[in-house]
């Protein structure tokens, strides 16, 4: 560091730029794309595309289990994935079974049904085309029990209706009766537990959507134990892109993952530019022989 009294060069002063300037840029980078709703179509990577293709190849009336294993704090990242996959399943006319191994997932299930499924797919009837089974305690133990005997744990749905009076539950005795299980969350319990206690023993296809932070821990399960994995906002945006490609009718609708992704891209760019800027200054200083610190 130079000794304060001597006049510092501009380059030298810029190197210790006030961090508040960075803060302003980051704030703007996030807010502007959100306000203007700009979105960016992503190239879909194989790990995401494979799940999309799997869902798209499901015959009509396939049974899909959606497990809401997340809470409000991670909802900004996870909810867009849920919305996209839900839409696709509904397009495929799949039977939707919704449940949660996280207590916080219960409210989100209700919200998702009210916000997406009911208004966009009014032909979906409760008990025949979809069911909300709600949350049950027990973590991985719950999954193990569901694998052995589904109705023993779920003797009613979330509203308290006896399970035997729900038509679409008639042939569900074990997790093995499902054609696909998708867990959204990635914390504990979550995708990993679904793989270990349901997917692996029963050879049931398991897919997942998780936060960016937990994605690296789950990558090792792809492709053998996971059909596909959506990691963070990027995964959600990629899935939405695949959805738009296959179902052009969704164009024009606001895709939460994509606009989130636009904010992400701009913010990442800003950070990287600052890093490059910092390094340029550093090398300039070193070249002029003052940069030894």
């Amino acid at each position: 560091m130079s000794n304060g009294t001597e006049q510092k060069s501009i380059v030298e002063r810029l190197q210790f730029i006030d961090r508040r300037i960075i803060f302003v840029f980051i704030g703007l980078a996030v807010v502007i794309p959100l306000l203007f709703g700009v979105s960016l179509e992503e190239e879909t990577t194989p790990i995401v595309q494979r799940l999309f293709d799997f869902v798209d190849a499901l015959p009509e009336e396939s049974r899909v289990l959606l497990s809401f294993d997340y809470g409000p704090t991670t909802a900004p990242e996870i909810q867009p994935m849920m919305d996209a996959i839900l839409r696709q399943c509904a397009e495929r006319k799949a039977k939707l079974y919704m449940m949660a191994v996280w207590a916080t997932g219960h409210n989100l299930t209700g919200e998702t049904i009210a916000k997406i499924l009911n208004p966009e797919y009014p032909e979906y009837q409760y008990g025949i085309d979809y069911v909300n089974l709600g949350y049950k305690a027990g973590n991985q133990g719950l999954i193990r029990l569901l694998y052995v005997d589904f109705k023993r744990m779920y003797s009613t749905d979330a509203a308290g209706t006896a399970i035997d009076s729900i038509p679409m539950m008639e042939n569900i005795n074990s997790l093995k009766n499902f054609d696909l299980i998708i867990s959204f969350g990635g914390g504990f319990p979550g995708i990993k537990e679904w793989i270990l206690y349901a997917g692996d023993p029963g050879k049931i296809p398991v897919g997942g959507g998780c936060t960016a932070v937990s994605a690296p821990l789950l990558y090792p399960y792809y492709p053998n134990q996971l059909v596909g994995l959506l990691g963070g906002a990027k995964g959600a945006a990629e899935y939405e892109a695949a959805l738009l490609k296959a179902y052009p009718k969704f164009r024009g609708r606001k895709m939460a993952g994509m606009s989130l992704m636009m904010s992400q891209t701009v913010a990442h760019l800003v950070i990287m530019l600052f890093i490059l800027f910092g390094n340029t200054l550093y090398f300039l200083l070193r070249a002029s022989g003052k940069g030894r610190s």
Partner: protein, 408 residues
């Protein structure tokens, strides 16, 4: 005397850990398995009902298996399973198994008052009925008696036990070697060597030192390691007559930290300078705690910040705020996800195991140094085993590979 007592304690501990393993074969009752009677009617009844106690558990669980002719398996939709106390008595419906599945895991309740309670060491009979696609039911096949029982020892966990005992043995060995005055080398850790300098700097500047124990409980290993370091730091601080601020997240951690700091001040001969207001509770909500500590930082402007213990997302908020006030920062945690942030934003970072080792470094206590040596041996042995395992797999020496697998 002291030594003898300690050795005795160790021996007792080992015996107690091992003891449950010894009587396992005598007392652990294996469940009877007896063939069931065979009955044939279209659709044919299941052939042979076998019940087995599930091993390595507390009982109340029984695995039922039956046979079924392959040529019929497509025309049978499911099997119904019942349980009763006598072959000719009443049977209670348990559930069903899907097409093609010929096993059923009966998990009874462990609680006596529950309707599905399943007593241990009690004779049970099972009835299995095949249901054809058209709904007609077969004659029942009955099997029994079967029993479930709790075992005294979980055999699946033997390798872990062996490892732990072996490791304990090393620890004892090296601690004894260290006690006999054998000089043990330890490599320098930059973060630890900086501690003295950091305290000295705060003293020169006349500013306080902030010590954050993280958001773990008093039982997290990271917190326990941090207590020891806190003791050393507090002692130095007391000698230099600098201020020490320890805001706490968890009340039990606070209580322990108060004791630690108080006795450090006593050791330094300045008990009068200690006050419970130095080590205080903020709140045990993660981000409220961070908000509070941030406030302390920007208002009291400590010259040195220690972040040692269990940290989650707050690590970077603390470290960046600390950096903005120009404090020297020494961090350490065993939370892998947070290490990168400390590495980036702090001057010195103790990575994972280094945090645990730090207490030994600061004290130069032969006992603690001895256990470090034991850890290294543990690592060495694991490395050798892993290498042998990988080589064995690579060259197809299956026997060795299996051996390694059992050990690991």
């Amino acid at each position: 005397m002291e030594t003898k007592w300690r050795l005795a304690a160790i021996v007792i501990a080992l015996v107690m850990i091992l003891a449950p393993a010894l009587p396992a074969q005598d007392e652990g009752e294996m469940a009877d398995s007896m063939p069931a009677e065979i009955q044939m009617e279209p659709p044919p009844a299941p052939e042979l009902v076998l019940g087995e106690d599930v091993p390595n558990d507390g009982g109340h669980k029984l695995k039922l298996t039956w046979g079924y002719p392959a040529e019929w398996s497509d025309s049978v939709a499911r099997f119904l399973i019942f349980r009763g106390d006598a072959p000719d008595g009443e049977f209670k419906s348990l559930g069903e198994a899907a097409r093609g599945v010929t096993t059923y895991l009966d998990i009874g309740s462990k609680i006596k008052d529950n309707s599905d309670y399943m007593a241990n060491d009690h004779d049970f009979y099972y009835k299995v009925i095949a249901v054809a696609n058209n709904g007609t039911e077969s004659e029942p096949a009955i099997g029994g008696p079967f029993q479930t029982s709790g075992q005294w020892f979980h055999w699946g966990k033997v390798p872990v036990l062996v490892g732990v005992v072996l490791f304990g043995f090393f620890t004892v060995l090296f601690i004894n070697a260290a006690r006999k005055g054998k000089e043990l080398f330890v490599r320098p850790l930059a973060g630890i060597e900086a501690v003295d300098e950091a305290i000295g700097r705060a003293t020169e500047m006349g500013k306080p030192i902030l010590y954050v124990l993280g958001i773990g409980t008093a039982a997290d290993i990271a917190t326990i390691a941090s207590f020891t370091i806190l003791g050393r730091v507090a002692k130095k601080v007391a000698e230099y007559q600098t201020d020490l601020i320890v805001p706490c997240y968890e009340p039990i951690v606070m209580s322990v930290a108060q004791d630690v700091v108080k006795s450090a001040y006593m050791e330094a001969g300045r008990p009068d300078q200690y006050s419970d207001d130095q080590v205080f509770f903020v709140t045990n909500a993660q981000f409220a705690y961070v908000a509070g500590v941030n406030g302390i930082m920007v208002r009291d402007l400590p010259a040195t910040n220690f972040y040692l213990g269990y940290f989650a997302a707050e690590s970077l908020i603390l470290a960046e705020t600390g950096n903005s006030i120009g404090a020297i920062q020494i961090a350490g945690t065993d939370q892998i996800t947070q290490i990168p942030f400390f590495v980036v934003a702090c001057d010195y970072t103790l990575i994972g195991e280094e945090l645990y080792a730090a207490s030994a470094y600061l004290g130069r206590d032969p006992l603690l140094l001895g256990s470090l040596k034991a850890e290294d041996w543990g690592k060495g042995i694991l490395m050798v085993l892993m290498a042998v395992g990988v080589l064995a797999t690579a060259f197809g020496w299956n026997a060795i590979r299996e051996l390694v697998r059992v050990i690991l």
